[in-house]
Amino acid sequence: MNAALRLFSLFLLVAAWYAGSEIAGQRLLPGPQTVGRTLLAEAQSGALAFHLGATLARVAVAFVIAMAAGTALGIWMGRSRLADRLADPWLVALLNLPALVIIVLAYVWAGLTETAAIAAVALNKLPNATVTVREGARSLDRQLDEMAQVFLMSRWTRLRHVLIPQLAPYLAAAARSGLSLVWKIVLIVELLGRSNGVGFEIGIAFQLFDVTRILAYAIAFVLVMLAIETFLVQPIERHVSRWRPRAA
């Protein structure tokens, strides 16, 4: 029933797209079949896999760096009032700095390099992760902390079995919003200063006013992210929350 509803909703989307392209004309909004053919051609030539791969690699590296650094910073700020006071203004500044400014500055200061690109993306995502994890670290259970202390648990045991599981819902929220944010910013970074990746391809297509290509690459990437969500993020979440008593 659920799957049928989802399929029906998806079918409606494609139908609306088809109708839209009939009204607006193929040049402004090419229909599903045109985009599909282009997608197929790009896949066969290997260009699609090459650009998707480049973008995914950047997404993965930037995401891991931002989550690791953001989590560490969030835990530190959530647990120490001094750290919170010291780092909060920086965090607010970073949160409110437009993504474009960070990207342009990174390219100006570090050149049009891979490092600059990834650093810019990670820096854009980091404050979100920090703010979310800080919220979680503020609500940690002191009783479990004391238990760990009395039983002389090692630092690693405390981190892995006491701290991280408590933060799991916050980490999941940060990862979810992080993944979609990171890939959007990666495209801008590629558009501005890389010579491969989905963002670069979309930049070329824009100059040629090739809407078909723009849509083909966008759809390919959304499909990949959907697959990651379904086959990676959701199973991990189910595993991590297996101990929670099921809601009636």
Binding site: M147, V150, F151, M153, T157
Partner: protein
Amino acid sequence: MSPAGDPGQLDVSITQKSYSAASGGSIEVLRDLAFTLKAGTVGALVGPSGCGKTTLLRIITGLDSDYVGTVRLPDHGKLGMVFQEPRLLPWRNVEQNLRLGAPEATDAELDVLFKVLGLAAHRHHFPGELSVGQARRVALARAFAVKPDLLVLDEPFVSLDAALAKHLQEELASLVTSRHVTTLLVTHNIDEAIGLADSLFLLSASPAHVIAEVPITQPRTRHNAEELATIRDEIARRLAKVAK
């Protein structure tokens, strides 16, 4: 009290412990509180509620180091503790909870504990799937699994129904008897204290100190009702005097 002392015993001597109050100034909780718990025996701290028993336990277990005085734990100082609430990790199953608390415990040792405490069927359950009594048993098992030099119990059976509390108390009594663990118990329940302890330390109202040490000579598995009643009345009378 011998100053040299047996290295297996617990020596507590707290000159002063106070909290700074929110309104400024400070509240004195403990003053000149001293007692010695002999190796392999069970001591119970009994006193009026709010007299600072929990504070005292936090000092002994090292959770609070802001006090004047000395605490000498039994040699090696390995602690096993049962808190008022079980304080299990809800995201780890029963066996993992034990292993995380006591990484050195062998499979055979855990098997015995699971069997003695009737937990064998619940090894792979998560704490959220256990009853209140079972969760307390897991907390007990975890404390014993570390093979502690000092076992500390903070109102371990509070808020359990009477029958269950009695049952758990008997299980605990046979465990401490068979393993000769030096044990410190905090309770407001005099029956529970008499049922488990070799000696009772009666505490005064705040700022608390030890007003008397009452030895219980009968072995804890063979108390007779009359003698228990006599001791209970005696203790209740003395406590009522301090509580005012």
